[in-house]
Every structure is written in structure tokens, then in C-alpha cells.
Amino acid sequence: MINKVVSGADEAISDIENGNTLMLGGFGLCGIPENCITALVKKGVKDLTCISNNAGVDDFGIGLMLQQRQVKKMISSYVGENAEFERQLLSGELEVELIPQGTLATRCMASGYGMPAIFTPAGVGTEVAEGKEVRNFNGKDYLMEYAFDADFAIVKAWKGDTAGNLIFRSTSRNFNPVMAMAGKITIAEVEELVEAGELDPDHIHTPGVFVHRIFQGAGYEKRIEQRTVRTKN
């Protein structure tokens, strides 16, 4: 089996350069590649285009990269939880492209499936449709949306093996598997890295062929954005 293991986040992201386009997995702060984000901040790489459903919060997730002015453009579906983001956007330092969440996910998937474009009804008749090809199938209008083209996809999984196979846990799966399929280079950080053969082939969410580099991350904070609970009575 082909071994994809690298020493850690610094090595994994070492060839990411100024101006690259990155996909970053996660939904809110759930399932984000914490170790790689820390390494990107340390490396100080700039002018990045980041494709990620959200932009983190002020002091966590992609928010840490925004603090360092490393992001030129965000491509997201929702960016509401971040004051620094708002400041940079209003001052013109940051560009943002808002995309319907399903369109975002499906444009990632299209890339992984080698499909140059897909059709979705999301955004028909709205400003999202401006400049896009509209096509009618069976009486319903659809927008043609293109597959993403990202230099790197950076994802976080629960378990992985040395062959690059990934298993995600609960709703931290979210965008991670579709982005893992879509990077020219895909980097996966995992909470637990095991030897090839230890994962059940039937349980693997992302086959290793899509993953180029893998390492076991450390010190996961896994911060909760909205702690909602009920009380036992």
C-alpha cells in the first residue's frame, strides 16, 4: 500500500504559497483542520483564496488567518460569526463571494467526480444567477455551476490510516469528504492515525486515493460555538 504519512502540519503545508486557493473543511468550528490552520498562521502565507462554508470566529478557525490578513478572498455560504471579517470586508481589504451552501458542496463534489459543471435550481431568479447560464429541464430552471479548482484541500478526520483512508465522526463530517476529493493536493489531519489494515474497508468515508498527505494532529480544542443544553429533571 502507498504510504501517505508526513511528520505533521508544518511539513504537510510546506509548499502552500502566497496566492494559492485552499479548500478548508468544517461547518462553523465543527470538524475544522485546527493543526493546519495553526501551521498556516505560523508560516504567514498570504493572499489566499479560501473556500470554506464559514469563516470561523474572531479568535478561532479561519478567524486566526483573517487576524493575520492572510486571506484575500473568502468563498463561503455564511460568514456571520466574525467581527474582524466584517471590518476587513467593509474596509475593502477582503473580498467575499457568497454561494448557496448546497451549491458550494456540490461544486466541491463535482471536482472530485471529474464533472466540470453541475446543474442546481438554487439561486434561480436571484442575484446569485447573474451572469450564469440558466437551463430548463422538465419545466424547471437550473443554474449551471462550475466545479471548483483548488490547489490544496485541507480536511480534518476522526481516524485515518497510513494509506490515506479517512473516517469522519458524526456531523464533523460535513464538507470534509467532498473537499478531500477535490484538492489537487489533499492534506488530512486526523485525531488518530492507524496502520493500513486497521480500518474496516466498508467503513471508510474517503478512500486513500484522494488523500496525498496525512498526519495525526495534536491538542484538538474542538471549540463549541453554540453550547445548547437541557437540564435533567
Binding site: F27, G28, L29, C30, G31, N53, S76, S77, Y78, V79, G80, E81, E86, L89, L90, L98, P100, Q101, G102, T103, L104, A105, T106, C108, M109, T120, P121, A122, G123, V124, G125, T126, E127, V128, W158, F168, R169, S170, T171, S172, R173, N174, F175, N176, P177, V178, H205, K222, R223, I224, E225, Q226, R227, T228, V229, R230, T231, K232
Partner: protein, 219 residues
């Protein structure tokens, strides 16, 4: 006049046994609390879950288990987890029977605006555009008028649209209204103690009302 829970309670009556339902943030989330006994419903959360349960007990929160509002939640027996593409795949292929979401404006022909106010910081549409473009049955839960006292049921939306010709039903603190296929709002029920005239004054879009519009009944 209903409070938020009243609106949620009235909407819950629209949910049928065997429905898969997607609940938006705000009032729609409250609907889960009022699903009638004996009605089997599966809640979808578009970040990748079918079979969403209530909030966890204190101390049992799991950072890996959240809903589309980023709240900690639980799963129910029979739940399943999937990625974002499959989640919107099942939305797009209309496997979700009912979508309930909030709105800033709804027009006579079923257009909805709920994501952007010009001049204000835009947070994004999240999954709302996908949901309204695909769902076979959409109910809007909202206040009848905005904070400035202006009607949110309009001949034409003034705000940037989220979707067109998609809203079928609206439940507000004043009324239940259907959007007619040919355009216009059909008054179906009045909130307890609210008159047709009152509703008419609060509705800028074309309102159709039969002679005896019943009051809502809650069990």
C-alpha cells in the same frame, strides 16, 4: 395574536405522520417542541444529519454533533450522518417533505426574501437558497409586519430575493395564509381574537378572504 411559540404550535399541525422535515433557525426551530404525539417525524439538519434529537443534557455536549445553527444537539435511534453534498442532494431530489423557514418578505406570487438587506453587512444565504429552490412544500414562519410596522406580505419583494415562486403557506402572529397559484394571499385562519380587517390592514399584498374565516384551533 400569537407569540412565537404560538406560531410554532400552529405550524406543527401541518406536519403529517412520516414526514421528513427541515427546520430553519428561529421560530421554525421551536416547531420541534410541538409535534403532536403519535406523529412520526424525522428532522433533517442540512449540515449532514437525519434524525435530529433534542439538546443534550448538560455535560453531555459533543463538539462533533451540531445542527445547522451550530447548536449542540443529539441524535435519535435510526439517525444517519452524511456529508454536505449528499445532504443537499436529498434536498434537491425532494426527499424532504417539508421545509419551514423564516422570512423578511414574501410576495403574492410566492417569492421570498430572507438573506440580505442592502447597506447592511451580508452574512450569507447559508442553505436557504437551496432549500427554497427545491422543497416541494415550504411554510414560512414570520411576523406579519416588520419592526417599522410595514407589512411583510407584499405585492412584490423589495429586498434581494432568496427564491422565486416557492412559498406555499405563511403562518404569522395574525394568520395562516396560502399563496395562491395565480398570485395573492388566501386567508385560511385568523389568530384568536384577530379580525379579518386587522389582517387586511397588515397585508399590503392582495388578500383574499372568504366570508367566515375560522379562528385557529389549538388542542
Amino acid at each position: 395574536m400569537l407569540d412565537k411559540d404560538g406560531i410554532a404550535k400552529r405550524i406543527a399541525k401541518e406536519i403529517k405522520d412520516g414526514f421528513y422535515v427541515n427546520l430553519g433557525i428561529g421560530i421554525p426551530t421551536l416547531v420541534a417542541n410541538y409535534i403532536p404525539e403519535g406523529i412520526n417525524v424525522v428532522l433533517q439538519s442540512e449540515n449532514g444529519l437525519l434524525g435530529m434529537g433534542p439538546f443534550p443534557f448538560e455535560g453531555e455536549e459533543d463538539a462533533d454533533l451540531i445542527n445547522a445553527g451550530k447548536q449542540t444537539i443529539t441524535t435519535l435511534p435510526g439517525s444517519s450522518i452524511f456529508d454536505s453534498a449528499l445532504s443537499f442532494g436529498m434536498i434537491r431530489s425532494q426527499k424532504i417533505d417539508l421545509t419551514i423557514l423564516g422570512a423578511m418578505e414574501v410576495s403574492e406570487n410566492g417569492d421570498i426574501a430572507n438573506w440580505k438587506i442592502p447597506g447592511k453587512m451580508v452574512k450569507g444565504m447559508g442553505g436557504a437558497m437551496d432549500l427554497v429552490a427545491s422543497a416541494k412544500n415550504i411554510i414560512v414562519a414570520m411576523q406579519h409586519v416588520n419592526k417599522a410596522g410595514e407589512s411583510k406580505l407584499l405585492p412584490k419583494c423589495t429586498l434581494p430575493l432568496t427564491g422565486v415562486n416557492c412559498i406555499k403557506k405563511i403562518v404569522t402572529e395574525l394568520a395562516v395564509l396560502d399563496v395562491l397559484p395565480g398570485g395573492g394571499f388566501q386567508l385560511i385562519e385568523r389568530a384568536p381574537g384577530v379580525s379579518v380587517d386587522y389582517i387586511r390592514q397588515a397585508t399590503t399584498g392582495k388578500l383574499f378572504a372568504e366570508d367566515n374565516v375560522p379562528e385557529m384551533i389549538f388542542d
